[in-house]
Amino acid sequence: MPEAVSLLYQFGTNAAFLLLSALGLIVILGMMNIINLAHGEFMMLGAYAATASVQRGVPFPLAVLIAAVAVGLFGVVIERLIVRRFYGRELGALVVTWGISLILGQGALLLFGPFMPPIAIPGGAVALGDYSFSVYWLFLIVLCGVLLAALAFVYRATRFGLQARAAMQNARMARALGIRVDRIYMATFALGAALAGLSGALLAPTTSIAPFMGQQFVAPAFITVVVGGGASVIGGALGSSGLLSLVQTPVAFLFGTFSGTLALLLTALVVIRLLPGGVSSIGRYFTRRSLAAAR
C-alpha cells in the first residue's frame, strides 16, 4: 500500500514537473505557434524575481504573484520591441528568441553572479510506512490542475479567449470582425510569459537559482507541448504529461532515473512518429469519425 502511494506520488510529481515546465509554452507555442527558445529564461526570471522578493521579506505566495506580474510585463516589452515583428515567420522567431535567451542568461550572470541564495522549500514532509512525501510537491500537483483548469476556462469561456482563438486561427478575418488582433497577440504573449514566470517562481524553492537554470525546463517543456499536439493545447499537454510520466515513473523506480529519462524520450519519439498531431489528435480523430458517421 505505501508503495502504491509512493508510485502515485512520483507519478504526480513527474507530471507536475512536466506541466509546470510547459505552462507558459502551452500559450506561446501551443496557441500562438511561436517557437520560444527563451522560455527557460522567462522561468529563470520568475525564479529570480521570487527569490529577490523573498529575500526582502515578502511572503512566498505574494512573491510568486510578483514574479508572474513582473515577467508578464517583461513579456509585453519583448513582444512590442521584438517578437511582434516575427509573427508568421516561425524560423525567424526561433532564432530571435534564441538570441533573447542568450542575452538573458548571460545578462543574469553579469548582473547577479553565478548563483543566488535559494528559498527554503515551504511545508514539511508527511510519512507513510517507509516512504515520506514533500508537502510542497503535493501542493504543486494540486495547483497544476487548478492552473490548467483556469487556463482552459479563460481560453474557452471568456470573451478574451474567444477573440484570441479567432485571432490565432485567422488574423485577417478576426481583424475584419473588429477584433484588435495586435492587442490580442500582445496580451496572449504576456499571459504566456506571466505563466512561465509563475511556474519559474513556483519551482524556485526546489532548484538552484542560477543564470542558466532555465535550460533544465526547456526540453521537458517542448516535449510536453509537442507530444500534446495542437488540436487542443491544454488537453493535449495534460494528456502528454500524464502519458509521459505514466511510462517514466515505473521505469525510473525499477531501473533508475537514467532509464526513466530514456523511457520518457522514447515514448515521445514513438508518439510523435505515430501521431504527428500529438496526443490531442486522438480526440480530433474520433470527433471526425463520429461526425462522418452522423452524416
Binding site: 512520483q10 548571460q106 548563483f115 517507509d130 526546489t206 542558466f212
Partner: protein, 498 residues
C-alpha cells in the same frame, strides 16, 4: 572514531628554498639565454625575452552548469599569479616528505566552526588539550619571499578563457591556448569529461598540463600533473568512517558521466574490503533536477547511509528536495560541500550529517589556512566560497613557478623533468608532496562533517595519504611514458574480495 590528532612531518623546506633561491642571478641569465634562443627560433615573437611574460594558460567554466566551481578556481589562480608577480612563493622545495611528527597533547574533540560568512569564527575550540598522541608540527608562515618579482625576471600572465561548461568549446580553447597563445603551462579542467576532452590535444602537443580537481583517479599521463585528491585518498577514508559509524549498507547516487560512474565503481570495489555492501545505485544524468523517484528508491532500499556524488547546479537540488521529502539519512561524498559549498547555498538542514573526506575546505582552522582565506577574500571580498579545487589551483600555480625557477627556464620538457624531482609544497591544507612516478599528490585529508545548522567540524585527520593506487598498478611516468586512464576494473586486487 575519535581523532588521534594527526601527525605529519615538518618537511624542512628552508634548505630547499635556499637551494632554489641561492644562485638566482645565474639562473636568470641562463634562462634569458635559453629564451633568447627560443625567440630566435620563433621569429613571430619580436619583443625582447626579458619583457615576454610567462603565460599560464587557464580554462575554467565561468558560466553554465559548472560555473559555481569555475569562478572560485579562476580567482585562486589570479591570487597565485599576483603573489608570484609581487615576489612571493609558497614554502617548499624538491625534497620528499620527512618522518612522522612527535608525541604531544591534543584537544578531546574536534573544533566547531561557524557556517556563516567568511570570518570562520571558531564556535567551540574543542576544550583544553588533554589527550596525548602524535601531533603535527606545522609551519604557519607558508608565504615566503621568492627573491624576485615575477618568474625568471619575467612577469607572469594569466591567459584565461571561459569553457562555458561545454566540452566542444573546451577542445577549441585548449587548441587555441596551446597553438596560438603558446602558453608555458596549462592549468585547466573541472569535470572529468572536460579533462578527457582536452587531454589528447595536450598529449599531441606535449603541453605541460596541471589538472587541479579532485577526481576519480587513474590518469597516468606523462604531460599531465593531477594535483587534486583521488579516490584512494577520499573514498576509502570516508567509507571506512561511515561503515564504522553508521553501518554496512550503502546506497550510491552518482552523476552519470565518467567521474560518477568510476567513483561509484570505487565504492563498489572497496565495499567488500570493509565488509560493507552497496545495496543500490542510481546514476541520474546531469540534466536531471527533479529527484522524487531517486528519493523513493532510496527509501525503498533502506540503506544505513547514502554516498552522494552529485555534480552541477541541477543535481545539487537533490539535497533540499530530499530534506523536504523527509529523507534524513547520513550522507557521504567526495565532492559536495568542498566544491559547490552546498552547506552555504542550501538552507539548513538540507546538508545535515554530510561527511566528506576533503583535502581542503576554507573552514580548516589552522593559522596558515586562515591567513590564506584572508588573502583570498581581501582580493575578492564578494566571493561566496573558497573551495577544494580553488586551493589546489592556487598551490599548483605556485608549484609550477617554483619548478620553473629551479629549472631556470620555462622550457616545458625541462620543467616537467624538474617537477619529477619530487616536490613538497606548503599548501594552505598542509604539506603536499608531488609524487614523481605517478604525477599525483600526497594530501592532508580531513573528514569534514556538517551538523544540522551546517556548521563544519573536522572529526578525523589523516596528515598524509599517498596516491598509492597507480603505484600498485606499476605506473612510473618518470621512466615509462603513458597516456591512459586506469579504472578499478584494471586492478586484479579488487576482484579478490568479490
Amino acid at each position: 572514531m575519535d581523532t588521534p590528532t594527526p601527525s605529519k612531518d615538518a618537511a624542512a623546506p628552508d634548505a630547499a628554498e635556499a637551494a632554489a633561491t641561492g644562485p638566482r642571478r645565474r639562473d636568470v641569465l641562463v634562462a634569458g639565454l635559453a629564451t633568447a634562443g627560443a625567440v630566435l627560433a620563433r621569429p613571430a615573437i619580436v619583443r625582447a625575452a626579458s619583457e615576454t611574460p610567462v603565460k599560464v594558460g587557464f580554462i575554467e567554466d565561468e558560466s553554465g552548469n559548472l560555473s559555481i566551481y569555475g569562478v572560485q578556481k579562476l580567482h585562486a589562480a589570479q591570487l597565485a599569479v599576483q603573489e608570484i608577480n609581487d615576489g612571493y612563493t609558497l614554502a617548499g622545495g624538491p625534497v620528499g616528505m620527512g618522518g612522522l611528527g612527535s608525541d604531544g597533547m591534543y584537544a578531546p574533540k574536534a573544533p566547531l566552526l561557524t557556517a556563516s560568512g567568511s570570518k570562520l569564527d571558531v564556535i567551540d575550540a574543542g576544550g583544553t588539550p588533554s589527550q596525548k598522541g602524535i601531533v603535527v608540527s606545522d609551519d604557519q608562515e607558508i608565504l615566503v619571499k621568492s627573491g624576485e618579482k615575477g618568474l625568471l625576471g619575467r612577469p607572469v600572465n594569466l591567459v584565461s578563457a571561459d569553457g562555458q561548461s561545454n566540452n566542444t568549446l573546451w577542445q577549441q580553447l585548449a587548441r587555441r591556448m596551446i597553438q596560438q597563445d603558446q602558453v608555458d603551462v596549462l592549468v585547466a579542467g573541472f569535470a572529468s569529461a572536460e579533462r578527457e576532452a582536452i587531454r589528447p590535444i595536450v598529449d599531441q602537443r606535449k603541453q605541460l598540463y596541471f589538472y587541479t580537481n579532485q577526481y576519480e583517479g587513474g590518469v597516468a599521463d606523462s604531460h599531465t600533473f593531477c594535483t587534486g585528491a583521488v579516490c584512494e585518498q577520499q573514498v576509502i577514508p570516508v567509507m571506512q568512517y561511515m561503515v564504522e559509524k553508521f553501518g554496512p549498507k550503502i546506497f550510491t547516487i552518482a552523476a552519470n558521466y565518467n567521474f560518477g560512474q568510476l567513483t561509484a565503481s570505487w565504492v563498489r570495489s572497496f565495499a567488500p574490503v570493509l565488509k560493507a555492501k552497496v545495496i543500490g545505485e542510481e546514476f541520474p544524468p546531469l540534466e536531471v533536477s527533479e529527484f522524487s523517484s531517486v528519493i523513493a528508491r532510496v527509501q525503498q532500499a533502506k540503506p544505513d547511509w547514502v554516498m552522494t556524488l552529485l555534480v552541477g547546479q541541477n543535481q545539487s537540488n537533490y539535497y533540499p528536495q530530499a530534506a523536504a521529502a523527509g529523507l534524513h539519512l547520513p550522507m557521504a561524498s567526495t565532492i559536495n560541500m568542498a566544491q559547490g559549498y552546498e552547506h552555504k547555498r542550501f538552507k539548513p538542514p538540507s546538508l545535515a550529517n554530510m561527511h566528506n573526506a576533503v583535502n581542503y575546505m576554507q573552514e580548516i582552522p589552522t593559522k596558515r589556512n586562515q591567513d590564506f582565506v584572508q588573502r583570498f577574500y581581501k582580493m575578492f571580498p564578494n566571493d561566496p566560497y573558497l573551495g577544494q579545487m580553488a586551493q589546489n589551483t592556487y598551490f599548483s600555480i605556485h608549484l609550477y613557478a617554483k619548478a620553473a625557477r629551479l629549472a631556470g627556464t620555462t622550457d616545458q620538457e625541462k620543467v616537467r623533468r624538474t617537477l619529477e624531482a619530487g616536490w613538497t609544497i606548503e599548501a594552505p591544507e598542509g604539506s603536499v608532496f608531488l609524487e614523481p612516478a605517478t604525477h599525483h599528490a600526497t594530501h592532508y585529508i580531513r573528514l569534514a562533517v556538517a551538523n544540522a545548522k551546517h556548521e563544519i567540524s573536522f572529526v578525523r585527520e589523516w596528515p598524509s595519504i599517498e596516491p598509492w593506487w597507480l603505484q600498485r598498478l606499476g605506473v612510473n611516468l618518470a621512466r615509462t611514458p603513458e597516456k591512459k586512464q586506469y579504472t578499478p576494473d584494471d586492478d586484479p586486487f579488487f576482484k579478490m574480495f568479490k
